[in-house]
Subunit: 207 residues, 2 copies
DNA sequence: ACCTGAACACCGTTCAAGT
DNA sequence: ACCTGAACACCGTTCAAGT
């Protein structure tokens, strides 16, 4: 056996990442295996290890792809400029992405950092980009002279984490409850109430 | 081979659950295997399947144990009655439990429902119990005549999900940021600001 | 009745051997 | 230079066979 010129390394990387993406979308992370990916792309399992350090590394690449597509979606929504408050629009867009592909999105929720290592910088940067979108939407809600940069960053992180928690519990079906408010209602309540609290604080100069 | 009278079935169940608990605390869910558990308790792997339907079932039992111990911890805190607001105390207690045993706690965050099945009722009940603690703490913050039962349940769920998101992202190290507010600061901000918003709404009769 | 251990159908990962 | 496929050390789960 030997070299095949059918795919350049970049093409092959793309094929492999897409195959992994599809498997996870269908069967979740549990359904993913190096052998199954190899089967789908028509190469042997060993070849994956020419392209990626490990399966964990490959999964991280899929996560990066997802974060990028989420970011693009949020950018679209930001550009829309409908009557709604920008933050609610962001929140609802985020939620709808999670609900369209729950198994894919679960990756970001469930994937703890592999063993002893750190979150790679390119991954953190993508998270930062998402938080930055929330920050800029926040800045349009609160007069900037009333809320310093650190307070905005803090609030943006709280909003991001809250959305994450709501989406995460919702896709895991751990948020049902008796009265059964939908996640959408909970997200709207969260954003509106937190913002109301923030405006109140700004008004009385507590920040 | 054959029967051993060294342990009653209940004792053995307890030993197995504790062994699984310990393995997860040390190495995370990835380190768990039926064979390793069997090794630690000194039985063969097959024996586990006399006691549990599957590894997933066993893991769910560990989660139940964790939710119970979290509930006991919150009950203690509730009884304390220090000067702090009860909700902040609950939130900080919850956070400290997560931070003491991040790998164990990650179970609850990362464990999606196995394949096609539902969350078992005894599991949902335990989640309900936690949310109920938040509800009763909330009721002490807001005059009950100003906030109906459904609104309290909604707010309790939002608070619970927000805490979950903050704890989850924090243990996954995905919340770091530039200015580096600690999770404690973020949790305090979340609870205080959301509550402020809630009080504001109550005051102007929006609910 | 309870427990074992071999067996089945899988894994992730490595690496000599091939083209 | 790139790819294979056998090999290694693992999995979860089942079940005939043993006491």
């Amino acid at each position: 056996m030997g070299r095949r010129s059918t795919h350049t390394p970049e093409q092959l990387r793309g094929l492999v990442i897409r195959a992994a993406h599809d498997i996870i979308a269908e069967d979740g992370l549990a359904g993913l295996s190096a052998r199954e990916i190899a089967r789908r792309v028509g190469y042997s399992p060993g070849t994956l290890y020419n392209l990626f350090d490990s399966l964990d590394d490959l999964v991280l690449q899929v996560e990066a792809m997802l974060l990028d597509s989420l970011d693009r979606r949020l950018a679209e929504v930001e550009a829309e400029g409908t009557a709604d408050e920008p933050l609610s629009r962001l929140a609802r867009a985020y939620l709808s992405v999670c609900r369209e592909h729950p198994k894919l999105w679960n990756l970001i929720a469930e994937h703890a950092i592999p063993r002893g290592s750190e979150v790679p910088p390119w991954y953190s940067e993508r998270l930062e980009r998402l938080v930055a979108r929330i920050e800029s939407a926040l800045a349009r809600h609160i007069p900037p002279d009333r809320l310093d940069a650190q307070a905005i960053e803090r609030s943006a992180r709280v909003l991001w984490a809250g959305l994450h928690g709501l989406a995460s519990l919702s896709t895991a079906d751990k948020l049902s409850g008796i009265t059964g408010d939908s996640v959408e209602v909970l997200v709207d309540d969260f954003v509106a109430t937190y913002l109301a609290g923030l405006r109140g604080k700004v008004r009385i100069g507590r920040i």
